[in-house]
């Protein structure tokens, strides 16, 4: 493995920035949301950027993680850290159950994964399961509320996810995944076990979303099924990744910094202008830079971390 130094430096710089920001900036929830989307868009990048599968239902793993955490805390009295493991396990188990989706491709896969996320949402929010999930009435985990600690755990998960992406970008395994994305038949003939490798990417991607969902549940401690399974989370993670440029570390980071930055600057105060700017940016991107902002550099032969 020949590590490109730029990858590691960029990842470390963003992690360090997000780690020190709470001491100079007081809106910790906003910072948390940034960390959350920085991580989710890289998690989605693992699947989309490296294998070409675009999971519109990515939020399903996030929700599974959030509810895995909540159920462990509410029903089994688990501490937050063991509950994080349950969050991770819930997302990975869901990904295992949904593995047949990988037989689909392109838009069919995207839509089917969205439907699967909706199905999980319907189950979790079902009033008949109130004893287990609190159904549509939402969960309250105030007993484990620890905003500062959970923030740093989120930064830790982000660091781990960045490390994973850096590894994929610099390893043979990551190269093999990209071969699968380019052509499954040639990848098979190159000796790459297509089914096994993309399963690993699928599970890793789900694991990231599950951990983020778990730490989200911990950090905000009161939420509803509509919050944890909000399709907007999938859309944001997808758009941020595509806007910046998948398969790179920089792309999703740029996407989050710019688009989520704009969203927080004006998305809540003047949502109509936000929608306008957002829509214009996305249309412009699809028309002129389908491979994301980073392609401004990469198509000139400049390597981007």
């Amino acid at each position: 493995m020949k590590l490109r130094v730029g990858d590691a430096v960029l990842a470390a710089a963003v992690v360090a920035l997000m780690a020190v920001l709470p001491s100079v900036y007081s809106n910790e929830l906003l910072l948390f949301n940034f960390v959350m989307f920085l991580t989710l868009s890289q998690g989605l990048n693992i699947l989309y950027g490296f294998t070409g599968y675009l999971p519109f239902g990515y939020v399903g793993f996030f929700g599974a993680g959030a509810y895995g955490f909540a159920i462990a805390v509410m029903n089994y009295g688990a501490g937050p850290l063991p509950a994080m493991l349950i969050a991770a396990a819930a997302a990975v188990i869901l990904a295992l159950v949904l593995m047949p989706l990988l037989r689909l491709s392109g838009a069919y896969f995207a839509i089917a994964s969205l439907a699967a996320a909706q199905a999980v949402y319907q189950v979790i929010s079902n009033p008949a399961l109130e004893q287990v999930t609190k159904g549509p009435y939402g969960v309250s985990l105030t007993g484990v509320f620890a905003p500062r600690l959970s923030y740093y755990v989120a930064v830790g998960i982000m660091a781990g996810t960045f490390a994973l992406v850096v590894w994929l970008r610099n390893s043979r395994f990551g190269l093999a995944l990209q071969a699968i994305r380019e052509d499954t038949v040639s990848a098979g003939m190159a000796g790459v076990s297509v089914v096994r490798f993309r399963t690993v990417a699928w599970l890793l991607s789900a694991l990231v979303a599950g951990l983020v969902g778990g730490v989200f549940a911990w950090h905000i401690s009161v939420f509803y099924p509509d919050t944890a399974f909000d399709v907007g989370i999938s859309i944001f993670a997808t758009v941020f990744t595509l806007f910046g440029g998948a398969t790179t570390l920089t792309g999703p980071l740029l996407g989050v910094a710019i688009l989520y930055g704009v969203y927080n600057a004006i998305g809540i105060t003047v949502p109509q202008y936000f929608q306008l700017i957002y829509g214009t940016l996305i249309v412009g991107l699809v028309m002129f830079l389908p491979n994301g902002l980073v392609s401004l550099l990469t198509r000139r032969g400049i390597r981007v971390p």
Binding site: R172, L175, A176, Q178, A179, E182, D183, V185, S186, A187, G188, M189, A190, G191, V192, S193, V194
Partner: protein, 243 residues
């Protein structure tokens, strides 16, 4: 062990159906190390299907494919690659966004099974005149270069059996000559080759013997020179094949 069991590749009465259409209708042949077998016949006669079945793209619906004495029919492609079977594609399918070097690196890293010496990738690229393009994205190459890269990707796994599907189409006469020499050199090193090609001059230069196929069946086996005098072969190639 009888002589027949020692063949590198044995294709025995292989059948492949697509719906009601029998693309392969009981095809049998064998191939030994260092031998170059040509597969010729009109379009739709089952040549590429034959390669697709041997390389694991399709499982056979009947019959047996034996490699080094073991059945391999229906085995996944990546396992066949590791066992020493590889192929090129009629329309090359390189990993377009990856560099030429990365294309062959993947194949050398994953497709190279135990018991075979790993090829020197630098030398491999140089021998195929791709060394100057090593850091270029495969998508930037022209179609002849992509075909050569497809061959390089296959050779990077150090195969014992190479299936070559219309590699010559689109090459100019000088390139054709060089490609023929390359394939002969591979055979001289002990590799077995199965070559599907429409250009008879190329087939003549490269192969030791040919199988002529028509409608999923083998209608002739022997040297190309004898094939051109075979009345059945002449009938199939010069008309009346479906009459």
């Amino acid at each position: 062990m009888s002589h027949s069991a020692a063949n590198l590749l044995r294709v025995e009465q292989v059948v492949k159906r697509f719906g009601g259409f029998r693309a392969l209708d009981g095809v049998s042949f064998h191939l030994d190390p260092g031998e170059v077998l040509g597969l010729v016949g009109p379009n739709g006669s089952g040549k590429t299907t034959c390669i697709n079945v041997i390389s694991g793209l399709y499982p056979p619906d009947g019959g047996a494919v034996m490699f080094e004495g073991r059945p391999i029919g229906g085995m996944p492609m990546h396992m066949l690659a590791r066992r020493g079977i590889n192929r090129t594609f009629q329309s090359p399918k390189p990993f377009l966004s990856l560099t030429v070097r990365e294309n062959v690196e993947i194949a050398a890293a994953y497709g190279h099974g135990p018991g075979r010496a790993a090829p020197d990738l630098r030398a491999l690229l140089a021998s195929l005149e791709l060394d100057g393009l090593a850091e270029r994205a495969a998508g930037d190459l022209n179609s002849a270069q992509q075909k050569t890269l497809d061959l390089a990707r296959a050779l990077a796994t150090a195969p014992r059996l190479l299936l070559v599907d219309e590699l010559a189409a689109g090459l100019n006469p000088a390139e054709l000559l060089r490609m023929a020499e390359r394939l002969r050199a591979l055979a001289a090193d002990g590799m077995a080759l199965l070559v599907v090609e429409h250009l008879m001059g190329f087939i003549d230069r490269v192969t030791d013997r040919v199988i002529v196929m028509n409608a999923g069946k083998e209608i002739f086996e022997g040297t190309l020179a004898t094939a051109t005098r075979d009345p059945e072969v002449i009938r199939v190639f010069l008309g009346g094949a479906h009459g």
